[in-house]
């Protein structure tokens, strides 16, 4: 079995993460129910005409993948694996509202073409002329991890050497509105600086793209090693700790080895209980980290957490703004990520220092 390394990152989020030299030195706070992304200059990467045709998600995905490849100093990959929970919402809404408003007449194909779930993966392939394996996973909160697991299987078995893996989701107005109606989005504007104390239902919706150049070959710029990923469609609170312990055991690790745990708390009082079980239980004495006050909640927000883990291991530092507690950590060797969305699609990801 070959090892799997993170060799490059490209992350577009509600923070200025597209600059790989920075590491959350400056943080933007929001007091809202939805967080937008901080956009890079897209036309530095995509021609003006193409950029105008692309919805935000496609642009973010194409540019994030570009940044990840630049960061890894590669100009081609063997495969592209994308995760997106909601797909290309902007173009889906555009096509559907026109369809309804004009009673199925006067429609043009552009937004339909761009609404397909694998548009981002297809456009990345088109841009870098990658004729290799190209998959898109669309499984809510486990979309990014599904893509990651597929990539890990192919890299560790030696089938492929370099794979671009990413998660991307965009907000669209109608979707946000109807998710407010069912309480998935917080009812009141909420300050991101005190997200976990909100004591209210729902999350602050966000959007973003996180792409990573994974490789079976280590290089000087490598961030970290991906050891294992597991996704579970359901998980009861009673079984959470047990499943984490067995995941760590199967990955050749254990709870005492974990130097930091990165949790997906989103300030939803109905579902943060899962994370609290760990932070008050088995990881009470471990350095705890959270990030959705910086990224917002979206189906592939865990790609932001993955980036955070990679960055922490490479820089051997944890920015204060993401610390949930204060623990002494001399060296940071092993990091566990745990995420779930609305009590479903739980994922564990284990990263190690190179």
């Amino acid at each position: 079995m070959k090892k799997v390394f993170i060799n490059g990152c490209g992350v577009i989020s509600a923070q200025k993460t597209f600059d790989n030299k920075a590491f959350l030195e400056e943080v933007i706070t929001y007091n809202d129910r939805v967080m937008p992304v901080v956009n890079p200059v897209y036309k530095d990467f995509i021609s003006g005409g193409a950029a105008r045709r692309m919805a935000l998600g496609v642009k973010m995905g194409v540019v994030a993948s570009n940044l990840a490849m630049q960061d890894a100093q590669i100009d081609s990959v063997d495969a592209i694996i994308t995760g997106t929970g909601m797909g290309c919402l902007i173009d889906s809404e555009k096509f559907l509202s026109k369809l309804i408003d004009n009673n199925e007449e006067f429609l043009t194909p552009t937004s339909f073409i761009q609404s397909t779930h694998n548009t981002v993966g297809g456009q990345i392939a088109l841009g870098i002329q990658c004729k290799g394996y190209n998959f898109t996973y669309v499984h809510s909160g486990a979309s990014f991890e599904s893509a990651l697991l597929d990539a890990q299987l192919q890299l560790s078995s030696g089938e492929e050497e370099n794979i671009l893996v990413g998660g991307v989701d965009e907000n669209a107005p109608h979707t946000v509105k109807i998710h407010q109606l069912i309480g998935f989005v917080k009812e009141e504007n909420t300050a991101t600086s005190s997200l976990l104390e909100s004591n209210t239902s729902g999350a602050i919706f966000g959007e973003g793209a996180g792409f990573f150049a994974l490789s079976a070959k280590q290089q000087e710029s490598s961030y970290a090693q991906v050891i294992a990923i597991e996704t579970l469609n359901t998980l009861s609170k009673e079984n959470l700790e047990k499943r984490i312990i067995s995941f760590l055991e199967e990955s050749g690790s254990n709870v005492s080895e974990i130097d930091a745990v990165i949790l997906g708390n989103n300030g939803d009082v109905d579902f943060d209980g899962y994370y609290n079980l760990l932070s008050e239980g088995v990881f009470a004495n471990t350095q705890q980290v959270y990030y959705k006050h910086l990224s917002g909640e979206y189906n592939t927000a865990s790609s932001f957490g993955f980036w955070l883990g990679a960055k922490v291991l490479k820089t051997q530092s944890i920015p204060d703004v993401v610390k949930l507690n204060q623990k002494q950590t001399s060296t940071l060797k092993t990091i566990l990520l745990y995420n779930q969305y609305r009590g479903e699609n739980h994922s564990f990801t284990l990263l190690k220092q190179c």
Partner: protein, 398 residues
């Protein structure tokens, strides 16, 4: 020797039948499932033909025993019918006895309900239960729950028309790597105004019966369907003394990297996918006895796929046919239903005819098998090609 990954169960619902047996009977008797649309009130109803499943949602709910206050999309209902048949066919009594996962595929997801209640959601709360059923993973989560698959690997693939083929491919990989002992793989898609109008704007919908590989083909008929296979590890098959229906012998996915919706003229992606699948199967092209082609009957697909087949098989192209004239193009489910048809072909040593074909294409000399043909079949290759340049091939063997 690479025997492949064992298939121990299959289930299907399509315009030509509500289970495997009904589908097989229609295939051998040449019964098409293509008609005018009856369940969706679209302005295009007289301009298109579709492969529609006769049951209403209510009838499906009753058959499945789902309470009336459910928030199932039609995609989820169809998927559950097929997945349950596959589990029963594999004779699985205790799903928790082995590490069992589910990989489903869809392109439409819950769009049928979203398009129905899009503005209604804003006005009243009567149908808001469907809002969380919109995303593509929802039908998969529901199917997993109904099958009793808990705390396990469950995911969804959406790569347009190659989705279910990719679900089969990923499932096979998960069994081979030992991540799972057993996995249910396949896909489901229902008809929707969204897809009807989308394909309409692309001007690739035929106003009559679709005619794959015919010079005068006018485009595709959309269809709805669901199909699932059960894949099991060799160890499990041996331990439980399971009956094996066929094997997933090889698979390959490649990207055309040519255009968001159109296939390249010479079928680069499809060629690569077939070559990869042959390599994984460790087979030479001449070992393929029958190709179940993607053959959607659009001008672009059939030319591109035909050229790719010639590139791979040279002057020894095996018998091939497209079964889309029976079912219509069922999008994300297509790779699943054609997997079931490939297995039926292997089990019964029969090649299903490419219906509606009259005039050979002028670009090449190959022509599809138009009559039902009995022949010893050991290996069948199935293609699924989709938007985003996504090209997939799965090889099945006895």
């Amino acid at each position: 020797m690479n025997k492949g990954v064992a298939i121990t169960g299959m289930g299907i619902i399509s315009a030509i039948g509500n289970n495997v047996e009904e589908n097989y009977n229609s295939l051998i008797s040449g019964n098409k499932g293509i008609s005018r649309i009856s369940k969706i009130d679209t302005v295009h109803k007289n301009a298109i033909m579709v492969g529609e499943i006769a049951f209403t949602n209510k009838e499906l709910e009753q058959q499945l025993g789902i309470p009336p206050d459910n928030n199932y999309s039609r995609t989820a209902l169809l998927g559950l019918v097929a997945a349950k048949e596959a589990m029963k066919n594999a004779n699985i009594l205790d799903v928790t006895a082995y590490k069992t996962g589910l990989i489903s595929a869809t392109s439409v997801g819950g769009m049928d309900m979203t398009e129905k209640y899009y503005y209604d959601y804003l006005e009243t709360d009567a149908h808001r239960k469907y809002i969380e059923g919109h995303h593509a993973g929802d039908s998969t989560q529901k199917i997993a729950e109904e099958l009793g698959i808990k705390e396990s690997l469950v995911t969804t693939i959406s790569t347009a028309c190659s989705s279910a083929a990719n679900a089969i491919m990923y499932g096979a990989r998960l069994i081979k790597s030992g991540k799972l002992d057993r996995v249910v793989v396949g896909g489901a898609d229902c008809l929707s105004k969204f897809t009807i109008n989308g394909f309409k704007t692309l001007m690739i919908l035929s106003d009559t019966y679709n005619t794959p590989f015919d010079e005068n083909r006018k485009g595709l008929n959309l269809g709805e369907a669901a199909a699932f296979l059960v894949l099991e590890s060799d160890a499990l098959v041996a331990k439980e003394n399971k009956k094996v229906l066929a094997y997933v012998k090889g698979y390959g996915n490649a990207n055309d990297a040519y255009h968001q919706t159109a296939s390249s003229e010479n079928g680069d992606g499809a060629t690569l996918a077939m070559e990869k699948a042959l390599k994984v199967a460790n087979l030479k092209p001449e070992a393929i006895d029958y190709i179940n082609a993607h053959g959607t009957a659009t001008g672009n697909n059939d030319l591109s796929e035909g050229r790719a087949i010639i590139r791979v098989f040279k002057d020894a192209v095996p018998d091939f046919s497209s079964t889309k004239p029976y079912t219509g193009h069922t999008l994300a489910a297509a790779g699943g239903i054609e997997a079931v048809y490939s297995i039926l072909a292997l089990q019964n040593n029969v090649i299903f005819p490419n219906l509606n074909f009259t005039t050979p294409m002028k670009e090449f000399a190959i022509r599809p098998q138009v009559e039902i043909k009995e022949k010893e079949l050991n290996t069948v290759l199935s293609n699924s090609l989709g938007f985003g340049g996504n090209c997939s091939t799965v090889i099945f063997s006895k």
